[in-house]
Symmetry: D2
C-alpha cells in the first residue's frame, strides 16, 4: 500500500520549518506502522499552474503530482489555516483534481475511485472543522472515499500565536487521532483495493 | 441491508408536500434496486429536544430515532436549503448524534462505526455543495463512512423560485446521481458489514 | 440606542450556566459603555416554531422576539459551537428571519435594513471562524450591515474540554475584541440611524 | 469615490472570456451610475506570490495591487465557483490581505478600515452562498465593512453547464441585485469616508 501526502503550506522547503510538514510526518509514521509506504510532496516548491485541466501546458508540474496521486492508495491533503480557511495552495490542488470529474475508467468510474483520502490541518488557532468540511466535500466530489474521523488537526486557543512546530510534545489527543486516522484509512483502503466500486453501467 | 432516511424539512407531514421527501423517495427506490430496505422518518413530526445527549428526558423522541439509526446499515440525511445552509432540523439531529463521540463499543469504537452515510439536498436555488460539506464533516466526526459522490441534490437557477416537487420530470443528472450514490453506498456498506474497522486498542 | 442579544445555547435558563450567556454579558457591558441599552433573550426558553414565516401560528414565540429585534438598532447573535458549527437554535432564528426577504418598507427595503449585526461564538475548541462566516452571510442576506471585526469569540485548544464559563479571567484578546466590536458596531449603527439606505426605486 | 474590482478567475486575459469579468463589468457600470470610478484587476495576469506579508520579495506583484486596494473606497472581490468553493486565486488575495491584521494607522485601526467590500460570484451551478459566506468572513476579519445584500451572483440549475457569459440577457434578479449592491455599498462608503471608525486608543 502506498500513501501520498500533499503539503499545502504557503512556504517553500528552503524557508522556515512548516508545522503542516510536522503533522504530515506524524501521519506518515502512523501509516508506516500499518504497512504503508508514504511520501510528502511540498506543493509550494512546484509550479502548479491555475486551471481545471490535468495538464495546463508548459512548465506545469501538476501532471507529475497527479501521476503520483493516482499511483497511491491513500491521499492525505495537509493544509495550514489562514483566516480560518484552507490555503490557496490546497485549493489549487483541488481545482486541478476537478479534472477527475470527466476522466473515467473502462467502467465509467472516475480514475480517482477506490482511493481513500484523509485530511491534516494545522494553525495557530481555530479553523480545523471548517477546513475538514471543505476538503471532505471537494475530495468526495472528485471521487475519494472517507473513513470515519478522517482528519487529524491541531490549533491553539482563540487568537493565540503558538505554532504546532513549537510544541515540545505532540498533545495526546493529536497522537490518538493520528493513530485512529491511520488505522481506519488503511483498513478501508485495503477493502477497496480488493473490492472496487461497481462500474457505472 | 437496511437504510434509514431522516427528512429534515421544516414542515410536518400534514402540511404541504416536501421536496426533500420526494428526493428521499427517489434515493430509497434506488437503494431498493440494490437490495436495501428503507424507511423515511419525518423529523418535524417528532419532538427532537435540544441537547447533545442521547436521551434528553421526558417526551424526547430522539431515543427512538437513534435506535433506528443504529439498527440500519445506511443513514441518509436529507435537508432543504434555507439561506444556503442546512435546516435547523438537520442541525438538531446532528447535535444529538454528537453523543456518539463518547458512546463506545467493546473495541473502543463509536457505536456508529461501520455504517455508511449519504446526503440529500433540495432547494429553490444554490447551497447544495456547502450543505454537503457541513453534513459530511459532522457525520464523519460522529463515526460514519462516506462513499464517493455521497450527495444527491437539486437546486434551480440563481434566485429562482421553482421547487423540486414541481418539476414534471426528475432531471437526468439527478437520476444518475441517485443511482451512483445508491450503488457506491451499498457496495461500501456491504464491505464494512463483513469487515468492521479495527478496535482502537 | 438599543441592542438585543439572542442567546442560541441549547440549554434553558433553569439548567447549567451558559458560556454563551457569559460572552453576551461581556458584549452588552461594552455596548453599555457606548451608551447602548441591551437585553439578552434566551431562545431555548421559548417556543420558536420551525418555519420561514414571521408567524407560524398558535404558541409561536417568534413574533414577540421579532418585534424586539426590529425595535433594536443592534442585533447580537450568540451561539455555542457544536461539531464546529452554529447551534440548531441559532439556525432556527435565522430561518425565521428569512421572512424579512419579502417584508418591505415603503421604500422597498427589507424591514430589517439600517440595523447593524454582530456575532458571539463560544466553544470548547475550534469552529469560530466558520460560524461567523455562516452567520455573517445569513444576517447579511436578510438585511443587516456588518462593521469590521464583527465577531467576538473564544474557543480552547484543539480537542480541549474547558468551557469559557470556567475561565478565571477573560483572556485579554477576548476583552479587546469585545471593546472593538462594541465601538465599531455602535459607530456604524449611529451613522445608519441618521442616514438610512436609499429606497430601492 | 473609487472602486477596485479584483477578478479571481483562473484564466489570464489572453484566454477565453471570463464570466466573472462580465459580472464585474455589470457591477462597475452600476457603481458608475452612483458616481464611482472603477477599475478591474485580473489577478491571474499577475504574479501574486504565496505568503501572508504585504511584500513577498522579488517579482511579487501584490504590493502594487495592495496600493490600489488601499487607494479605493470600495473593494469588489469577484470569483468563479470551482467545486462549490472560491477560487485559489481569490484565496491567494485574501491571504495577502491577512497582513492588514498587523498594519495599523495612528489610531490603532487596520489600514483597511473605513472601506466597504462587496462580492461577485459566478459559476455553472451552485456555490454562491457559501462563497459569499467565506469571503464576507475573511474580508470582515481584515477590516472591511459590509452593506446589506453585499453579493451579486449567478449560478445555473444543479449540475448544469451553461456559463454566465453565454446568457443572451442578464436575468432580471441579477440586474436588480447589482443595482441594490451598488446603491447600498456606495451609501455606506460615503458615510464612512465622512465619519471614520473611532481610534482603538
Amino acid at each position: 500500500m502506498k500513501a501520498i501526502a500533499l503539503n499545502a503550506t504557503l512556504k517553500t522547503s528552503d524557508g522556515d520549518p512548516s508545522s503542516t510538514e510536522k503533522m504530515l510526518e506524524l501521519l506518515l509514521s502512523e501509516l508506516e506502522k500499518e504497512g504503508v509506504d508514504g511520501e510528502i510532496v511540498r506543493l509550494a516548491d512546484l509550479n502548479i499552474k491555475p486551471g481545471v485541466k490535468s495538464d495546463e501546458g508548459e512548465d506545469d508540474d501538476w501532471p507529475e503530482v497527479r501521476s503520483r496521486v493516482l499511483a497511491a492508495d491513500i491521499l492525505v491533503l495537509g493544509t495550514p489555516v489562514w483566516l480560518g480557511q484552507p490555503s490557496s495552495v490546497a485549493k489549487r490542488a483541488l481545482e486541478r483534481m476537478n479534472a477527475f470529474l470527466s476522466e473515467k475508467d473502462d467502467g465509467g468510474r472516475m480514475v480517482s475511485y477506490n482511493r481513500v483520502a484523509a485530511v491534516a490541518v494545522v494553525g495557530n488557532e481555530d479553523g480545523a472543522h471548517h477546513i475538514s468540511a471543505e476538503l471532505y466535500q471537494a475530495l468526495n466530489d472528485v471521487g475519494f472515499t472517507l473513513a470515519p474521523n478522517a482528519v487529524c488537526y491541531w490549533v491553539g486557543e482563540a487568537m493565540g500565536g503558538t505554532d504546532f512546530k513549537e510544541l515540545d510534545k505532540t498533545p495526546d489527543p493529536v497522537s490518538s487521532a493520528a493513530t485512529m486516522l491511520a488505522r481506519n484509512t488503511v483498513h478501508l483502503a485495503r477493502l477497496l483495493k480488493a473490492n472496487v466500486y461497481p462500474p457505472v453501467s
